[in-house]
Amino acid sequence: MDKKHNQLLWAYRTMQTIRLFEERMHDVFTTGEVPGFVHLYAGQEACAAGVCANLTEVDYFHITHRAHGPAIARGADVTDVAREIYCRRDGMCRGRGGSTHLHDAARKIIGANSGVGSGAALACGSALAARHRGDGGIAAALIGEGGANQGVVSEAMNLAAIWKLPVLFIFENNGYAEATSADYAIAGGDLSARAPAFAMPGEIVDGSDYFAVADSVAAAAARARAGEGPCLIEVRNLRLYGHYEGDAQKYRPPGELEEYRRTKDCLINFRAHVLAEGSLTAGDMDVIDQQVAALIDAAYEAARTAPLPDPEELMQNIYATNC
């Protein structure tokens, strides 16, 4: 009971933290104080949370350029994340990576990656290392449906399958690769249908349903830990904002987002689910809402006021061994 209760509180807190973090980013980005460009994860929270609910500390989580939400779901310090997006000296990557390259080695949050699809190959390496050590670790790789069309992803799926590597290929289909729709770019329209070609199980999961994602990932993770090899899970959702902040999104059909917000908002659906089954109370979640709002305020304030990297940092950490 306590364990399940705590798990639900964690899931709600995680998704709410991501939502408020991204909504705040959406607001502050227009002021011009955030360097570079940002890709928001709002609307997709149930995916990262559902995956991370099933990962332990020996597991690797490979994330994409849409990095803020997944990093937070895996337990990254929210202030660290905000400082990195603001390119600050004390950000998680010392201000060198920015929004699209969040990385937290201690938490095995690996390579937010602007080379979409590349994480699939890197995840094979994480899984190989875990197997070499024999610590039971697995690697879960988030890959957008756009990135899934990179050749390296098919190569990685084949490699993981022939080596029976403990890799979860989580194809997060949010409907659009930049401005190009999944309907246009994916032959047959079904990424999960690629799984049997690589001799692995595959299924489509409703990305607005935290419980559906978490259950699917739990089964895939158990299978991978048992040495039975990789799985593919296609998580279908929509992002609530553009590919990047500033994207006018004129490619969307009229009413698409309004409809999604009304019927498929993973936070609203989660709240309805737990209230209906009586597993959390409105009060439980209202408290979390207040705590998260304060956390987000503090994280953004800390990021905004933190110093940029010192000039000498430009030439540091190019090599690990003297060069």
Partner: protein, 336 residues
């Protein structure tokens, strides 16, 4: 000390380093050869060049991993494994195949340490082959060390001798950064005395092959032998050349090059890479920038022409720099 070929010096290093460190794995195509085929020999090939023969018998399938023809995936896996604590040695059969795993090498491996704020290291060695001369045309014969050199985060070694091959590979494997280790196809049979025990040659320390006060010749990989042949012939004409093999392009031992240019005032760079945006033009530019005061004549670059590599033996021989071309370049500036 035993006489060994360049190929065997490399193989011996792999054996010794894998014995030393259980986290070293080999990953690549046909490292053993014959995977899943049911032939009598466990390693039917031992690598396309025979370099990795015997390793699977000693270290097993857990550490010698034959891959499908999927350079992007296995190079990415090697990088991921390196970040996760292993010390992989990946084999890119021909450096020309950089074309199919470029993102992994230049955007992942090279940038991982810096871009993520120094959190992780990538102790990865990528063994690859370079060089023309086997009549196998434009997609298997290039010398692409300048391309690798372009990307900060990578280190690049080009052994010209069996002794250097062993010492530089030892350093590459023990180094905590991604190292591109370029083996020249025509050097595999080269033989010389090589110590039986392990030794490491530091990166960024040039070898001075010959010493002379008239002209400085800098050359890499097989071109070191071409340059030395030219220098010996020139010595008979009374022209004394210093021949420098920097051994690595990253880091590059500019100190040794510049000290020699200070003495000779004349520089010829011999390289099998292309003439545009290449190592030769790079060193020429650095020398002009830093050592203009010492130069008595224009810097000369001896490289192949700006053209893909042909298969026809007579055309390929025209393509690759030879001693006559090096001698002509030296004579052209020596007379100035």
């Amino acid at each position: 000390m035993t006489e060994k070929s360049y190929r065997n010096a490399i193989r011996e290093t792999l054996f010794q380093e894998m014995a030393r460190d259980p986290d070293i794995i080999l990953i690549g195509e046909d490292m053993a050869g014959g995977a899943g085929a049911g032939g009598e020999e466990e390693d039917a090939w031992g690598g396309p060049m025979g370099v990795t023969k015997g390793l699977i018998g000693e270290y097993g399938k857990k550490r010698v991993l034959d891959t499908p023809i999927s350079e992007a995936a296995f190079m990415g896996a090697a990088i991921g494994a390196a970040a996760a604590g292993l010390r992989p040695i990946a084999e890119l059969m021909f450096n020309d195949f950089l074309g199919v795993c470029c993102d992994q090498i230049i955007n992942q491996a090279a940038k991982y340490h810096y871009m993520y704020g120094g959190q992780d290291t990538i102790p990865l060695t990528i063994r690859t082959t370079m060089g023309a001369g086997l009549r196998i045309s434009a997609q298997h014969s290039q010398s692409l060390h300048a391309i690798f050199t372009h990307f900060p985060g990578l280190k690049v070694a080009l052994p010209s001798t069996a002794y250097d091959a062993k010492g530089l590979l030892t350093t590459a494997i023990r180094d905590n950064d991604p190292v591109i280790f370029c083996e020249h196809k025509l050097l595999y049979r080269l033989r010389e005395d090589v110590p039986d025990g392990s030794y490491a040659i530091p990166f960024g320390e040039a070898r001075v092959v010959m010493d002379g006060e008239d002209v400085t010749i800098v050359a890499f990989s097989r071109m070191v032998h071409v340059a030395t042949e030219a220098a010996k012939a020139l010595a008979k004409q009374g022209i004394k050349c210093t021949v420098i093999d920097p051994r690595t392009t990253v880091p590059l031992d500019t100190d040794t090059i510049f000290e020699s240019v200070e003495e000779t005032g004349r520089l010829v760079i011999v390289d099998e890479g292309g003439p545009r945006c290449g190592i030769a033009s790079d060193i020429a530019a650095m020398t002009a920038d830093t050592m203009f005061h010492a130069l008595k004549a224009p810097v000369k670059c001896v490289t192949p022409p700006y053209v893909p590599i042909p298969a026809a033996p007579n055309l390929e021989d025209l393509y690759v720099p030879d001693a006559a071309k090096v001698m002509a370049a030296v004579l052209a500036i020596y007379r100035e």
